[in-house]
Symmetry: C2
Subunit: 194 residues, 2 copies
DNA sequence: CGAAACGTTGACCGTTTTCAATTACAGTGG
DNA sequence: CCACTGTAATTGAAAACGGTCAACGTTTCG
């Protein structure tokens, strides 16, 4: 069960760089799933300045709160050429009230996101780059001995854990030096604490 | 509508420092609302080390995912003397399947948390302490001119935005010096960009 | 084969952390 | 009413750490 299951035949929409998907105050008509590109959600303040609320990346849904609000509370603007799946609010709501199970499924989805976000936030409390990376690896690891299969470039991992790529490279080097991890091109093995 | 509305007559439980509320693998029996104290959620790894997943603070619910899992996936241990409201899973689920509106209410609650967590995460991407603090203040501010009423010590604010208290003091001093904010003991006024 | 992205390392710099000391302040009990 | 205790607020100085910039090697893929 996922968002897409709730709205099987979703429409799609393409956006040019700089183009707005919706603006603060617009009638909340849909929830979106980003298929490709990058969309930034920002709130404009009374004094004209702007605050970044979130940057959506491929695979993410955003504006879920639109389900419960008559209008959007922030601007959504494509940073690069992007494509989104449009999940119409009215159809989603109809499904949800008609089918209690769908409501539960949605709650499960959101509860999972809450858990994941809390974890990412907690990771950021670790100041030391090597320790932060190590904790991230430990959470990703599976099997015995614990191993992480890297399915995307370090570049993106660095972004996710809030470090520059250089800091990540240095951290991996340091962890290897200290015998905490062992690496081959595409996988990382966690070694037991000495 | 809130978690408590879903389980009106919740039981309470007190915990000593170091006492566990539940352990990884225990049958998931309830969702919890922390009333006082501090409870840390950690995952134990195969090698015996441990990773912090979240630190619950008063007013927060945690273990929401228990609703959708037969067992808990982490340990919950009181860091200090704490009290929690116990929201039994079976009663919650019964309410949710019986009443589609309750499911929607839960989804709304969770969607709000997702939004808030994403915002906090995005804040952490701002490296500069003064800029991060300023963005946080801008998000908290209300009214015209925008004003923030501080309802808790800077100590806690520092913790929330991921800075040391000293860094926050220095940031407020710098922002005042640059004419971006004005402070009196319990409130902060945001000044328009010069 | 060449271009573009990713990976890696070095040096330097700036900011934040850390540690320490001081002040302000609220609550407590004598 | 006042010393007393603990917490919050503040400031200083030094060190550590990650960011930034730059150069270069490596891999991938058209």
């Amino acid at each position: 069960m996922s968002w897409l299951d709730l709205a099987p035949c979703a429409a799609h929409r393409r956006l040019q760089p700089g183009q707005a998907l919706f603006r603060q105050g617009d009638a909340a008509a849909a929830v979106y799933l980003l298929e490709m590109g990058r969309i930034s959600l920002t709130r404009c303040l009374t004094d004209g300045s702007t605050v970044a609320l979130h940057t959506a990346r491929p695979g993410e849904t955003f504006a879920e709160a639109a389900l419960f609000s008559p209008t959007y509370h922030c601007d959504a603007v494509a940073e690069v050429a992007s494509r989104v799946a449009v999940l119409p609010k009215d159809r989603l709501l109809a499904t949800l009230v008609a089918d209690a199970d769908a409501g539960l499924a949605l709650a499960r989805l959101l509860a999972g996101q809450v858990r994941s976000l809390r974890t990412r936030l907690e990771l950021r409390n670790i100041r030391s780059a090597p320790e932060r990376l190590l904790s991230w690896l430990a959470l990703q690891a599976e099997g015995d001995p614990p191993v992480v299969q890297l399915d995307r470039p370090w570049l993106q991992i660095a972004q996710e854990i809030g470090l520059t790529p250089e800091a990540v490279y240095r951290a991996t080097a340091a962890l290897q030096r200290n015998g905490r991890i062992r690496r081959s091109s595409t996988m990382v093995e966690l070694l037991p604490r000495t």
